[in-house]
Symmetry: C2
Subunit: 143 residues, 2 copies
Amino acid sequence: MDSSEVLTSFIKKNGLKKTSVRHLLLDLIKKKSGHFDVEELLLGIKQKNLKVSRASVYRTLHLLVGAGLINESLQRDGRTVYEYSSEKTHHDHMICVKCGKLIEFSDSLIEKHQKEICKKHKFVMTGHKLEIKGICSLCKNKV
Amino acid sequence: MDSSEVLTSFIKKNGLKKTSVRHLLLDLIKKKSGHFDVEELLLGIKQKNLKVSRASVYRTLHLLVGAGLINESLQRDGRTVYEYSSEKTHHDHMICVKCGKLIEFSDSLIEKHQKEICKKHKFVMTGHKLEIKGICSLCKNKV
DNA sequence: ATTGATATTGAGATTCAGTATCAAATAGGA
DNA sequence: TCCTATTTGATACTGAATCTCAATATCAAT
């Protein structure tokens, strides 16, 4: 089932309506395939001479998170950064506090431990976020 | 070296000035010993008939983070939640998306893996945050 | 295809956490 | 005490995210 079908079935299951705005945004996001925020999406929309309002972008992003198609990835400069939930394993982030560089990594052992901890607390995990802040190898060697 | 001394030496080392506001806030935070945000601090200040401005609270919190005395713990309802960096090992959080309940946990294996990953990427970690979102055991059993 | 009930959208106003500004107050060395 | 740099408080400002509400679109039933 591809993402468009996932969206359609999520919409149907929740008594919502299939709209062009919702599928248009999903398409834009799929093409980006990486991290993005609301400003980036709005810029892309403007450049392509499409018409989607800021409010609809925010609303649709919430919807897509609910459908599991995208994730709130992290906060950067006060903005929420999202990413498309691809099939590849969940990954986490290192953020360089000097240059803002984002490094992705994934560690199956950490994932496994998280699941065990949730089990121990009888907690049903719906999402998780691991952010490591520090100084990247390039910045470390500067001055 | 207790936290007040840590603050004093941090202030001296950075050519800053020792002020009553800074030590007052540190004392308030130590007494709280748990999670807190700016509004909570301001409320406590008001109730005790103390006088510290909102701007100074924000400024001092940044200072205390820099001195390693407190941590930015997580985001809750758009507000930054801090916590006092006690001697106990670093801990992470589970947040119930239904009731907002915060569950603390710590896992030395996860910590260890994080360090290894940083080493692999030649990344100098200055802090990290792990947030697991989901549904707590109490909410799970409610309708 | 038309209707009607309901959900969605766009434009702009609003909210609110956090930041910037700047004059007055304070710290602390000389 | 004096001098200079830092800090503080009051308040204006910023900007991401949300709210409002009239206009529009969806879709099931006719």
